[in-house]
Each structure stands twice: as structure tokens, then as C-alpha cells.
Symmetry: C2
Subunit: 342 residues, 2 copies
């Protein structure tokens, strides 16, 4: 977090893929307006005329640090990630190029996550010492939140990737979230070091060697430890991590549906509604993924964030603020210093 | 399900590892008494004197179809699964031997799950055509429940195992749970056939070939589909399945804790308590793993079930009833017929 929370000192703007996501320009532009009001300058990347029309709906936006960068093409949600190659005019490619050229501090997109990863990798490359970038995200837990990676960029991995991700996530939490010595758990199917897949057994050995040298390795954790918040960070392959993320979101949705259903009788009475509704709203807030805004593509040599396709303005705003914070904290340089071969 | 639900026709008793689990003999004996009252004969396997003392606490149990088979040794929860080798007097080994010798219909244990799997495999072997048995369990879903396998027996797998498990689970649901043509989903990180790990891509091909020949293949499913109940069966490797199972249980526990906390104010008022408490009780029941009782070791050539170490009497009773139903339905012969090479 910045010294003065909520008022980042960034002057370099954040490039926002302003037409990415399920709902097109509206939530992106609204989120950008909110971020700009909080002091974060934004470059809205997309079809110029449409974006200016959308900006026109926000009175006073003309005086905010907002600019439009024209991009006529967009990678649709149904296209392949590899379609970013050669589509130089696609909004996500324009965003990552602005970062590469030093004209933007970070690229943020609520659009096609595979395409965003591909564009970021092709344009910005990797931090030295990193074989494969990962998607780092946050899940709610009893301790606030737990940081999980990889949640989908790498379905097949090597043990060395997991060790690199543990180091990257440690720097990220220290620099961006002010956690001094975050603990790292390795997701497995038993706490004992001898339990797990061949991959996990090998990764356990690598992480144990790194303990005290760049990471604070707690040991193996299990599925139940995620919501318990046993460790600050949980590393796993992108297949398991993606299943975990989607299960966690899907289960919360179904369980809260059951709670509402079970409390239906109470909600229908006036007194029941007064007693129960505020509590349910508080809970929904706690579980809302838009609190975190977006996930960072960690290990890319430049700041790139991807969010939910269904992101609302609040999620877009929070993603932009988080990107500004990462830039201020000089995250990429800190990652490079930490991963540099000694 | 039997023709007359709740009153299985079994005459061959079920062998219960009566000292397995976190709470020793008490819940096992109480569950056995309840099952015997429901018409299922049980062999209580464990230290004779202690079990008779426990039985003495249940008035009228002397007239029930309950017998004690002495076993002085027990595999502790902290021992290794491989410790079952050579420990012929261990309660779990006595249970599986009773099945092997045709003196019991099934073995049921709430004890060390790895040891139970090892004992069942060593003593009973595998159904022909099955490379590796799996642990098959049930998770609650919007559609009632979803059947998930493997949840932990095989951390490293081959695509062929997943295809075999799809066939085994299909027969199980048809024979034991009366689901005529259950759908099979392959757990992946995208619905599209080209998404997933190398293992999943290969398994997808095998399952597609089997569609219409022993299984009803729906295609890939994602983490969010588990609680949605998109398919009746979900197949995955034992690493991912174990993480899923423990995450699902752990998340439910934490989320319901938050619900209770959020509703705390309401629960403290008299009217709030009256409105909210019954609803929360109904929900807890829905999520209670003891409804299913235990998981079957599917692919073993003989009936073997393992339950939670924390199982209560209700879980033990339900496990015994389910084992009796599987025996009545001649599950093992039906599995062998379905998997026989043609």
C-alpha cells in the first residue's frame, strides 16, 4: 500500500483495454472515471468515437486525467489466445505496447484472459529467472485473503516453476500488500512431506531449500487450508489452481443461494427482512471478487492485470488502483532483483 | 436402492472395523446397533472385551444380529499405509479377510484410509480390467449430489485410469443409486475439448470413444460445475479430486461460520432465533457428510468402504446400509461384467 492509502502518486497512466469484458465499454469507462477521481490517470484504449460517447455520460470527466488511445480491433471472448499474433491494432496489443514503450505504467484488461497473457508475454517478455509467468489471484479466507497461483496460465508444469512462483508471490505481497514475511504453502493431499504427486514431492524439496532464502516455507497445505488461511500464499499448478478458483466461486454462489432459500420465510416477514437482509449484504460484500479487482500476470516483464469478464465498475476501479500501487512500489524492478541469479 | 427402502434383504453380515476412526469404538458400535435394528447384520471387528463392554451400553443389543470377531491390533491414524503388510491381526486386515473368505458381504472402516485401501487391495485384488482402484465419494450439489472420483487413492494417474473410473462409477450409480443413464463429466479448466492438461486432453479422447458404449459422456466440466451438478459423475485424478473434496468441505465450514456470525444479532433476539435457527439446521443437514456415510473403494474385487475419521454413529449406520445395498445389488459381479474385455 502507498504511504497515503487511496491516493497513489502515479503520474504515468494505466492503459485500460476499455472494450474488454462481457459488458463492453460501460463498466470500463465508469471504473476509469472513478480511478481518475482517486488520482490515477488512465488511458482508455479502444474505438475512439465510442469511448468518447461513453465518457460523455460522465459529467466532469473532461477535467479528469483521462485520455483515449484509438484501437479499432478487439479480441473476442470466443477467439483463440493465439489470435493476438499479428493483430497489432487489437486493443490488448495496443495496451501492452504502451507499457513496453514506457508510455503506460501497466496494462489492465477484463477481456480474454488467454489473449491478455499471450499479448503480455509476446510484447513484454519474462522477468529474468522466470520460466513461465503465472496468474496470481486472491481468495477470501478467515484471515482476510489468501494469495493463490497459478490459477490457469500453465496446465502442465515443472517443480521449478512452483519454486519460482513462490518467490514472485512473496515479493508481490511484501511490496504491494505490505506483508512483511508472508508464509508459503504447497498445495498437496496431506500435510506430510512424503504425501502428494511426483511433482509436489519434487517441489517440496525445492521449496524447503529456499526456506529462509527469499521465501518463508510453511510446508504442504491441503484443500481445507485455503479458506482457513493457514498460509498467506498457496502455490500449485495452473490446472489445480483453476479448478480450485472456479470451485470456490461456484460453491459460494450455490451455498449462499441455499442460505437465502432457507431463510426465505424470514425474509418475507417484515421483522425477518430487517433482521436478516443487512447480514446477507455484509456477507455478499465479503465474498465479492470485485474487491480485489483483477489478477496480476506475475513473472511478465511489465505490469499486466486481468479481471473477470463480468467485472463491474468497482472491479475496474480497484484493478486500476492496484496496478498504480504496483507501479509506484516499483514491483517489476523488485521482482528482477529478487530473482536475479546470484 | 432395495425394493423396500430401509430394510435391506442381506443375510451375510457386514464386517466393521469397530475401533477405526478418531473416536474409537463408541460411534462404531452405536452405528452398528442402529444398522442391525434396520435389519443389517454386522460383525464388529476389534478387541473382544472392549467391544462387548461397549455393546453392554445398548440395552436390547443382545437380541440383534451383531457378533464380535476378535482383533487385538489396530493400524493407528499416524502409521503408514504400508504398515498393513504382515499385520495379520490388525482389525482392518481381519475385515477384508472376512470378505475374501465369503464370511462377510463387505468391509467398512472409519479408520486409516490409506491402510484400508492397501488392505483391500492386498487381500481382495482388483476387478479384471481395472488398473487402479479409486475412492468414489459424493458431494452435495444443486441436483442433490454429484459423484466424484478419484478423491485421493492415486495422486499420479494415466488417462486410461480415468476412462475405467468413468465406467465403474456409471455401473455404481445405476446399480446402487438407481440412476439409469448417468452423465459423466471430465474435470478440466475449460469446457472446450482442446483445453486442459496433457492428461485431460488424452482422457477426453478415450471418454469420447466410450460415449454410448458403457458411459454417457457429457464432455469437460469446470470447478464451478461441481456444485451446479452439471453431470452426475465427475472424473479426475486423485490429486485434484482430493484437493476438491477438502476445499469443498473446508469452504462450507467457513462460509456457514460467516453466516452464523453475520446473523449473530438476529439469533440473539427471541424472534430472530425463531426465524433463523430452523433454517440453519436444515442447511447443516443438507451439507452433512454423514448422510452418505462412507466412500466406496471402487475397482477392488470385493466391497470395501472408508469413511471420515470423525464419523458419528449416523455416518457408520449409513455406511453399513449402503454396503448392504451394494451387496444385495451384486455390485462386484455387475462391475466385472461391465469391465470384462469383449
Amino acid at each position: 500500500m502507498s504511504a497515503e492509502p487511496g491516493t497513489p502518486k502515479t503520474t504515468l497512466p494505466i492503459a485500460l483495454d476499455a472494450v474488454g469484458g462481457d459488458h463492453g465499454a460501460a463498466p470500463n469507462v465508469e471504473g476509469a472515471v472513478q480511478a481518475a477521481r482517486a488520482g490515477v490517470p488512465v488511458l482508455l484504449v479502444g474505438p475512439r468515437v465510442a469511448l468518447h460517447a461513453e465518457l460523455g455520460k460522465h459529467p466532469g470527466s473532461a477535467s479528469l486525467p483521462l485520455d483515449v488511445v484509438d484501437a479499432s480491433d478487439v479480441i473476442g471472448m470466443e477467439e483463440h489466445a493465439s489470435d493476438v499474433r499479428g493483430r497489432t491494432g487489437a486493443s490488448i496489443n495496443v495496451c501492452t505496447r504502451l507499457v513496453k514503450e514506457g508510455r503506460a505504467a501497466a496494462a489492465v484488461s477484463m477481456g480474454h484472459s488467454g489473449a491478455t497473457m499471450a499479448s503480455a508475454l509476446l510484447t513484454l517478455g519474462r522477468v529474468r529467472g522466470v520460466d513461465r509467468p503465472a496468474i496470481l489471484t486472491h481468495l477470501p479466507s478467515k484471515q482476510g485473503f489468501v494469495t493463490l497461483l497459478d490459477v490457469g496460465a500453465n496446465a502442465d508444469v515443472k517443480a521449478a516453476y512452483l519454486a519460482q512462483w513462490a518467490r514472485l508471490a512473496t515479493v508481490y505481497l511484501r511490496v504491494v500488500e505490505d506483508r512483511e514475511n508472508p508464509t508459503v504453502g504447497l498445495l498437496s493431499i496431506g500435510e506430510e512431506p512424503h504425501k502428494g504427486s511426483q511433482l509436489v514431492l519434487e517441489a517440496h524439496g525445492l521449496l524447503r531449500e529456499l526456506h529462509g532464502h527469499g521465501i518463508n516455507f510453511h510446508g504442504n497445505v491441503e484443500g481445507r487450508d485455503l479458506f482457513q488461511g493457514t498460509t498467506d500464499i498457496v502455490v500449485t499448478d495452473g490446472f489445480t489452481g483453476n479448478v480450485v478458483l472456479k470451485l470456490a466461486e461456484g460453491e459460494a454462489k450455490v451455498l449462499f443461494g441455499w442460505v437465502r432459500e432457507a431463510l426465505g420465510g424470514s425474509l418475507k416477514t417484515k421483522v425477518g427482512g430487517l433482521l436478516v437482509r443487512p447480514a446477507l449484504r455484509g456477507l455478499a460484500e465479503r465474498m465479492d471478487p470485485s474487491t480485489y479487482g483483477a489478477s496480476i500476470l506475475i513473472g511478465v516483464r511489465g505490469l499486466a492485470f486481468i479481471g473477470h469478464g463480468s467485472a463491474d465498475a468497482r472491479a475496474v476501479k480497484n484493478a486500476l488502483l492496484r496496478a498504480a500501487r504496483a507501479h509506484e512500489a516499483d514491483l517489476i524492478a523488485r521482482l528482477e532483483a529478487a530473482l536475479a541469479p546470484t
